[in-house]
Symmetry: C2
């Protein structure tokens, strides 16, 4: 599957979010890693390598989506323009009860994988149920993934007895840990309003024992503190802190409603914060504290959230939303400049997810790379990588390499049959989704 080597030539090379890309470069991938790169005047002879010409294209690290519920593509557009609790309790939870199955999770995750690969995402952190099917679908798609099995204190898809919610995750980890270098199993405690303090602590203990990431939705809505099960602190973050859940392996998803004390607690704990700007707007949750946390040095990352609350998995759109909404929150156009946004979906996300040697163009780093076609009206003139944030789109991606393997070429997916996946998802769709 992985060719020994790939030689990309004539590319404009991304050299980091804060620097100007270098024109007319080559880059050699070997054994799944970035081996070397340089100007075309020094291009090596590699007769054994697969050759890709990158004329007119930018070569950059594949984007990392640090929060998704992949299988929820089935519910994309099913229930829009609704208040969070109504959306969740009257629409999404019932739709999940009626439609989530192993088959649904497998095929709808494949649909999500196609959407992500086509828009330049090479790694995703997922959190859902039937997570073994998520891991299987993502592995087959060619993506890199952190697949976190969900935990709630009520019956869930694949976990009919909530008394087994921790045991089910332990079994999932047992099955997937060390199975393939592209898949990292993990633990996803849904939230403090769906998990008791005892459940949260048991979930974190499991993650610590296995040295795996622990994910949790937190501080998403204004109302959240009121619905926390048995609160141990005076804010959602202080609740987690009182339960000793915060450390550098904890990933805090959303972080919209934080006060200064919360931010200070997160900062001292070493935990990372994942922002989902589009979901925050669409569900009217608010605007996250991303730029304030970033300024303090808290690791800030980016995710799309599931397709039901977004409603798309294109991280280029999310980058734009992150930079723009932070300017709005501070009424300061200098807040969250484009380069800081770009860092969230590349190097920051890699660090937060505990994935080493990922998210940068550097020798020895994973060969997770994308080519974007710059020779299009909306990307010209191209003065700097700011244009990736403010003018770019996932549809600009033409080629995707993950772990040294070519997954997308000339806009065509090479790892699985997209037409079959589209057909399967349409057959699973809630009636009316067949147009």
């Amino acid at each position: 599957m992985i060719p020994a080597s790939i030689l990309l030539s004539n590319v404009t090379l991304y050299t980091g979010p804060h620097t100007t890309p270098a024109p007319k470069q080559w880059l050699l991938c070997r054994d799944g890693l970035i081996h070397s790169f340089g100007p075309m005047t020094t291009v090596p002879e590699c007769p054994e390598a697969v050759s890709l010409d990158g004329t007119g294209k930018l070569l950059m690290p594949g984007l990392i989506n640090a929060h998704n519920h992949c299988a929820m593509t089935l519910f994309r557009g099913l229930a829009d323009d609704l208040e969070l609790n109504e959306w969740l309790n009257r629409h999404i939870f019932p739709a999940e009860a009626a439609h989530v199955s192993e088959e649904m999770v497998y095929w709808c995750t494949k649909l999500a994988a196609a959407e992500m690969i086509l828009s330049g995402t090479t790694t995703v952190a997922d959190g859902y149920f039937h997570e073994g099917q998520v891991a299987r679908a993502l592995l087959e798609s060619g993506m890199r993934a952190v697949t976190a099995h969900g935990i709630v204190d009520f019956p869930a898809p694949g976990v009919a007895d909530p008394g087994r919610n921790i045991a089910a995750v332990a079994e999932f980890i047992e099955e997937w840990k060390g199975r393939d270098e592209r898949i990292t199993p993990a633990v996803f405690a849904h939230s403090p309003y769906t998990c008791s303090p005892a459940t949260l602590q048991a979930a974190k203990t499991l993650a610590q024992e296995q040295k795996l990431p622990f994910f949790i939705h937190i501080a998403e809505s204004r109302q959240e503190q009121k619905i926390i099960m048995d609160p141990q602190g005076t804010s959602p973050i202080r609740h987690l802190s009182a339960l000793n859940l915060l450390d550098s392996d904890t990933v805090l998803i959303h972080c919209v409603w934080l006060d200064d004390e919360d931010i200070d607690i997160i900062h001292k704990s070493g935990a990372g914060a994942i922002i989902c700007p589009q979901s925050h707007l669409k569900l009217a949750s608010g605007i996250s504290q991303a730029s304030s946390m970033d300024a303090l040095g808290i690791p800030v990352g980016l995710g799309t959230d599931g397709a039901a609350s977004n409603n798309g998995l294109d991280l280029f759109v999310e980058l734009d939303m992150l930079a723009k909404t932070q300017k709005l929150r501070q009424l300061d156009a200098t807040a969250m400049p484009a380069a800081r946004a770009l860092a969230t979906a590349t190097e920051n996300n890699a660090a937060i997810l505990g994935l080493t040697n990922l998210g940068k163009i550097a020798p020895g780093y994973k060969a997770d790379l994308i080519l974007l076609n710059l020779n299009q009206p909306h990307l010209q003139p191209f003065y700097s990588c700011d244009s990736l944030v403010y003018s770019g789109s996932g549809s600009d991606v033409s080629t995707v390499i993950i772990n040294g393997s070519i997954v997308l070429r000339g806009g065509q997916l090479l790892t699985f049959d997209l037409a079959e996946t589209l057909e399967k998802v349409r057959s699973l769709a809630v009636p009316l989704g067949h147009l």
Copy 2:
């Protein structure tokens, strides 16, 4: 140039923002207009018509961009993440002084036209200088346009003597009025902080005499009232009202900082309000009062603003931003539902710009139509037209028909040489924009 007839078959037909599209339909264009449509069981025989198969595609009205400065594509990404006044006075105005010429306006407007057509926009309202070159470029591109000549009280490109600023616009109107049914010349008074009360009144008088739209930037930033030249009222809107500038042929661009009295004045005047959500965020202006005005019945439309403050001309992105930012402003996920957003960029914009029989699928309406490929991962399942707002992208557009003429087919621009335009714009770019 216009074929006698085009017969589109097997399309999913958009029937308005608030209704479910109808599968398996045909639509016949004749003499530049929508002639008739119906289910495939009733498809007429039209051997003389150009035949287009729309299997897997949605047929909808072309989008209307009600505010752009097309030629500013040259400055896309040149100066990002800067405060409005610094951006304007230290970067954009100097760049314009150095780079704006008739040649630049012509080619950079062509670049904008390519970007707009490729992303499904069929009509644009432009406001700039050397507006004759804008009209020429847009006419050649195949687009429909309202081209409004700019007015400021200082020397401007093509109008070295501000004493001739009204005369120059009158000459432009004389040259373009009635010349082609696709081009409507108009008047664009830049703002109350660049035009004196006397200039504003002379500009409006010219527009009234010619029965043409009068555009003005208004209430964009918090600081605006302080920099108005010789204020006649206690807010930017009250300033315009005191000068008798507000009526149903006046187009108010931005409308971010309004109080209840301002909104009431706009409502009573019949003026339309054009919202540019991305520009408002990127320049940290704030969030417009779109949903409040829409609820009152004020005609609310949508524009991208120029590519220097956005930085892209894809109205599908703008639709998403409009719906999401209004939810944020009200912290209410039911604010500005997708269907209301869709109306802004179609029927509302047509009405505000005074363009009759445009922006809907109906017999006798202009054949300004686009086909979108629904058979893609990010648009499946497709439950309703909400997905156009929350999941769609300009890159989903495959075919564009304007005034009954095919302008884009299979993603290829048919009206002009895109490669030549890209090359010309790169040669005009400020040094560094050549990557």
